[in-house]
Symmetry: C2
Subunit: 234 residues, 2 copies
């Protein structure tokens, strides 16, 4: 039997029959678990470069919360019969290229990178979680519902912009570059992970061919809303 033909047939029937089974839930949870670990690493690195001890402590505390979230996601992975480290492994290289393409040159660019990057990643995870089992979905929504980092960035950047009026246009440009690179990661993740790709039409309530386009429109709109919040043009 032609394997590809079987795969195509599955894909064609995609929207109609793919429901949330454990494989799909585990793929979403594995990705989120890895993203929380990456978030831990990035926040810890940001913390160690923070100009003041107070900010260093605040960001270190946030890094710690990312590990807590990773542990909560890991528990759900175990409940679904998976193994947390194994579930994360397929995603463990997914940010290497993004990081090498978006090396911040200032503390403010660094803060904005985390804000934009987590924003897109969290929105993507929320969309996919809409198509998995209700317990997993509720957990994901709860885990991603943490506004502390965004509030800190909004507050620090507002103060910095008040002192340096040339900062806003430079950061707006940096934000556009970041979102472009972040959307590219989303595209690559979908290409490499069939289980996530299969969830997308269900999550978006669209045919497979439209689902991805609509996803990117939504991620872009959410990004613009976040940049608005910073007073920066998207």
């Amino acid at each position: 039997m032609d394997e590809r033909r079987g795969e195509d047939a599955d894909q064609a029937a995609g929207t109609a029959h793919v429901a949330a089974d454990a494989t799909h839930g585990l793929a979403v949870l594995g990705m989120i678990s890895f993203l929380e670990l990456a978030s831990f690493s990035r926040l810890a690195a940001d913390a160690s470069l923070a100009p003041a001890l107070e900010q260093r402590l605040e960001l270190s505390g946030m890094a710690r919360h990312a590990l807590d979230r990773m542990a909560r996601v890991g528990s759900r992975i175990s409940e679904l019969g998976g193994e947390p480290t194994a579930a994360m492994t397929p995603f463990s290289g997914s940010l290497v290229e993004f990081d090498s393409r978006t090396v911040p040159s200032t503390w403010w660019e660094r803060l904005l990178k985390a804000y934009v990057g987590y924003g897109v990643a969290d929105d993507f995870c929320r969309v996919l979680a809409g198509a998995v089992d209700p317990t997993t979905r509720t957990l994901v929504q709860d885990v991603l519902d943490d506004e502390r980092h965004a509030r800190l960035v909004v507050e620090l950047l507002a103060a910095a912009r008040a002192e340096d009026p040339t900062l806003a246009p430079r950061l707006a440009l940096w934000g556009r570059r970041l979102v472009g690179e972040a959307l590219r990661v989303v595209q690559e993740v979908l290409q490499r992970h069939p289980a996530l790709r299969e969830l997308l039409p269900v999550a978006m309530g669209e045919a497979p061919e439209e689902a991805q386009q609509k996803l990117f429109a939504r991620l872009t709109a959410e990004h613009s809303r976040r940049m608005d919040r910073l007073g920066l043009a998207a």
Copy 2:
């Protein structure tokens, strides 16, 4: 009145009358609290460079434990009437030069740096804690009694040396450089913090002029013991 004369008079009377008051306890706790934060940052950075996901998770978990220890030390600072962030602040620049002088060029050098650096720092803290109030002393001993990182380094380096026989002599050299730089930090910390300097003769049971010399002998001996454990010449 000549301020310097007053300070000299205090120093001369040092060993005889200095007992563990809250100022001394707060200085020791402030230093340990900052060292735990620094330990968090270094372990998180090591984690993000770990060659395998399992090691990354293990080191991230250890980074998290450093923050837990910082929080425990912070509680004791509050009990003694201090403010945790304020108590840490005087120490917040104390590792900058050490770090710039000891940039690891390989993953193994990085692991050894943490092992040697924490080792010296922990021993120094343990010595000083011997001269403060019993509650603080017990807390410090308990907080520093964490062998997990050392065990991991011993295990990973043993495996690496088995694969590459040229590693041992290079790491032995690196270890000597690290301990030299670490002892230099201890010396600078003592110079800059009179409260810690005053504790030293009490802690070592020696006259001020001998106490520092004896401290360095002890720190060096403990370092040799740790290098022995790795099978490396100190």
